[in-house]
Amino acid sequence: MDPRQQLAMLEIPSRRESFVERLKAIEIFPLCATGIEILQLNITRRCNLTCRHCHVEASPDRQEMMSEEVLAECVRIAHIPEINTIDVTGGAPELHPQLPWLLRELATTKKRIIVRSNLAILTEGVCQPFPQMYRELGVEIVGSLPDYTSERTDRQRGSGTFTRCITAIRQLNKIGYGLEGTGLILNLMHNPSGAFMPGNQSSLEHEYKRQLRERFGVEFNGLFVLTNCPIGRYLDYLISSDNLDDYMAVLASAFNPAAVSNVMCRNTLSIGWDGRLYDCDFNQMLDLVVNDGSPTHIGQFDLKRLSHREITVRNHCFACCAGAGCSCQGALDT
């Protein structure tokens, strides 16, 4: 489904509550950025997996790759003092041939660098050296592991994926990732394997730690809980399973005004493979570039104007403001 159709599906007025109206009711509309502290780079939509929940609709067939020119611009902007975190995502970032170059350049900024890995890819031949490189450069890893059972993870990400993720975590533990006192951070990302919201982050983290330690002898630092955003393949799933109306109603009824002020788009700028600028990765997949009036391409990056831009919101934004709220850094209020 193309982005326009997805937005239309989420905004049928007779069937859906309006996120904009909710913001108006609590007098936080328009929602504006408070600055740019996090630069999130979506460097490719190619992935070795084809997960059923993927909002990027990433797959091995996707061709989108950030060009050398755009990568160089990202590195230049990463040096701006206001930015403290560079978050590299995809697709599978490891499938971008320039990832080693990018990370070495970003490491010179001495800032927090995150790579979002699907973990399974680290067991594939050409990607096996990546953990050592991440270690050398002090890269923080956020590994996607939707569930601590193979059944639920594989249902979402494909048969055999869970076992490969555990193998990858074991390898990362071996070089110090996820272990206390090493300073090498391995956080895991949970998202529900179905049409329901995630549970409390600390409860789930407790269970993940217990299960993964007892059953597989592996460790990690923290668990980030992410509510599935009703776009991309997850939207297809909600429609085909006849869960869309219920899911949107659940998100709307769990709307938490306190989560709005902490939502990630307020201090993040998301950069697409082609250099276009977005408020978040979800807006990126819906082709919603930053609001009119702000520069929309990295070539015209303007910190001052982008720092206080009006954030583009639609009904999919209910996902980040439901319950405890969520972001790429996990729950907003645990």
Partner: protein, 111 residues
């Protein structure tokens, strides 16, 4: 056909039960939150207890709410069914235990 008494969307109305008695509802929600939140038992364990009670009590709203909560907390489908069997066994057991009353009356009345 007339509308059913139980409608899924009514679950969302539970938050409004204080409409005509806000103070009592506030006290209830405070108690409810504390009783079902993590304590010495985890939130997960309490969700399983709540799901079992909901099923035994045949409450469609609570079954809906707590099945979703159990899923959200990563409770396995097999764990949910195992918990419900505890409820089923308890119901069977307490039914049979009450047969004591039948047996007592029979003993008294029969020649």
């Amino acid at each position: 056909m007339s509308e059913p008494y139980y409608k899924p969307e009514d679950l969302a109305d539970f938050a409004n039960i204080g409409e005509h008695s806000p103070e009592l509802a506030a006290s209830f929600f405070d108690y409810y939150g504390k009783a079902t939140g993590a304590g010495k038992l985890t939130e997960r364990e309490k969700a399983l207890i709540a799901l079992t009670v909901a099923t035994v009590r045949h409450c469609p709203y609570c079954i809906d709410a707590y099945t979703n909560k159990c899923l959200s907390l990563g409770v396995g489908n097999d764990e949910m069914m195992e918990a419900v069997h505890v409820g089923a066994a308890m119901v069977a057991g307490d039914t049979l235990a009450h047969a004591t009353q039948i047996r007592k009356i029979i003993r008294k009345k029969e020649m």
